[in-house]
């Protein structure tokens, strides 16, 4: 069965390693923070100007001057630092963030990503996503494999305005985990529990590479 958004977040949390500085985008990526194993030490960056983001505050402890990039009220952990938004993106552009997790509307087999605009219909703005995808060393995407009307969102080429070119390294969808190969193509690494390779082939418009036995992902 396809994963729900919590399942995707849980699986992505396994990609976070001890000592990492991590930037989490809005949406599913934000949920990843809840599933990072407690035995590893991670610093979450919020691009509005915070390194060392902690849990949501208790009701008594809400501070309107302390929010993350999704405008949610947050806290800081020991060792946190605050800075302005120019310094925040200096940090991002200089490649100091070990892992960046973003949502996407579409991803192409070349690693292109679109996540900020549907012409004539919806404009969210790119926010920090264009800076992140242009500079971060390690970008992974959390997304639904198909649109609500059943169209694949893992494409040969993005149809929507791009956020960045050749930048996505890995895709985590509700159906599986995919490497994006340097030469192009989604290489299937893992299936969501109960999802068949056949279903994934059906659901993927972009070039899909299936080699050998594809294991089911393990989610605790």
């Amino acid at each position: 069965m396809a994963l729900d958004k919590y399942g995707i977040a849980k699986r992505i949390a396994q990609e976070v390693k001890d000592g990492y500085y991590v930037n989490l985008g809005i949406g599913i990526p934000t949920l990843v923070a809840n599933y990072i194993p407690s035995n590893i030490q991670v610093m979450l960056q919020s691009e509005n100007g915070l390194l060392g983001m902690g849990a949501f505050p208790s009701k008594d402890n809400v501070d309107p001057d302390m929010i993350n990039a999704g405008k949610q009220t947050v806290t800081t952990i020991d060792g946190a630092a605050l800075f302005n938004s120019a310094d925040s993106f200096a940090m991002i552009r200089s490649g100091k963030i070990d892992l960046t997790i973003l949502g996407a509307m579409e991803v192409s087999e070349q690693g292109d990503i679109a996540n900020w605009k549907i012409p004539g219909k919806m404009v969210k703005g790119m926010g920090g996503a264009m800076d992140l995808v242009a500079s971060a060393r390690n970008i992974i995407v959390a997304m639904q494999h198909n649109s609500k009307d059943g169209q694949s969102k893992l494409l040969k080429a993005c149809s929507l305005p791009l956020t960045g070119l050749h930048c996505v390294k890995k895709v985590f969808s509700d159906l599986g985990v995919f490497d994006i190969l340097p030469e192009g193509g989604f290489k299937l690494l893992e299936r969501a529990p109960g999802v068949s390779v056949e279903e994934i082939i059906q659901a993927t418009e972009g070039k899909l590479i299936v080699e050998g036995i594809i294991p089911e992902m393990i989610i605790n």
């Binding site: 100007g49 208790s58 120019a86």
Partner: protein, 230 residues
């Protein structure tokens, strides 16, 4: 001591004219100059070009000036959950220039740092690159981006002193410090205004040289856009 204090918000914004370009500090509703926004709304200044990462929400922050159609053009990075903004953008009523957030922050910083242009990788290969010079450094394409300056910058700080020095709090810092440097006239509203000499020079985020006028805001609602608790 050089004294930048003005007594009232109306004195601070006295010369903001129709058609002015104004930078507004803040990210979402966090760290926005609430008092100046309200006063500009009351004053009815029109045809403004506003530079701000977001544009508030419906009914608060810059959303107030969008609702009254005082804003002709927005230069922002995220429209987010502001329906009035998105509506005016999609209908073409509002002229909108959307800029990657890091590029926006850096262009404002450049404006205050006397750097007329710089190269950044953000936006290469996207519509943001349209019409821009592309140059390759270390094998990677970059876009030439120009500084941003404004007739007025309006920022909100936590503490300030009469010499114009500012200290921000938490993530309410965001775009405020860069904007303070990039305004021809920079206006700062603060929660607490102290005599020069009371702030530790080592803890100041914005040196007073950048601030033309400073005043203590009457009241801060500090509305929360997205309350999340455990």
């Amino acid at each position: 001591m050089i004294n930048k204090t003005v007594q009232h918000v109306d004195e601070a914004i006295r010369d903001i004219h129709d058609g002015a370009t104004i930078m507004f500090g803040g990210f979402g509703l966090c760290g926005i100059p609430e008092n100046c926004i309200a006063a500009i709304q009351k004053r009815g200044t029109k045809n403004l070009t506003c530079i701000s990462n977001n544009a508030g929400v419906d009914g608060f922050g810059l959303g107030l000036l969008l609702a009254t159609r005082q804003i002709k053009k927005m230069i922002s990075s995220y429209v987010g959950e502001n329906h009035e903004f998105e509506k005016q953008l999609l209908s073409g009523e509002l002229d909108v220039e959307l800029i990657p957030q890091g590029t926006l922050a850096e262009r404002i910083r450049a404006g205050g740092a006397g750097i007329p242009a710089f190269y950044t990788p953000a936006g290469y290969g996207t519509e943001v690159a349209d019409g821009k010079e592309v140059r390759v450094f270390d094998g990677k394409p970059h876009l030439l981006e120009h500084w941003l300056r404004a007739d007025f910058s309006i920022v909100k700080a936590w503490k300030g002193d009469t010499a114009g020095n500012l200290i921000f709090k938490g993530t309410a810092r965001n775009f405020n410090p860069m904007m303070a440097t990039a305004g021809h006239v920079t206006i700062a509203e603060v929660e607490e205004l102290v005599p020069a000499g009371e702030l530790d020079p080592n803890e100041i985020h914005t040196p007073g040289i950048f601030v033309a006028r400073i005043f203590k805001g009457d009241h801060y609602e500090k509305r929360i856009e997205n309350l999340t608790t455990l």
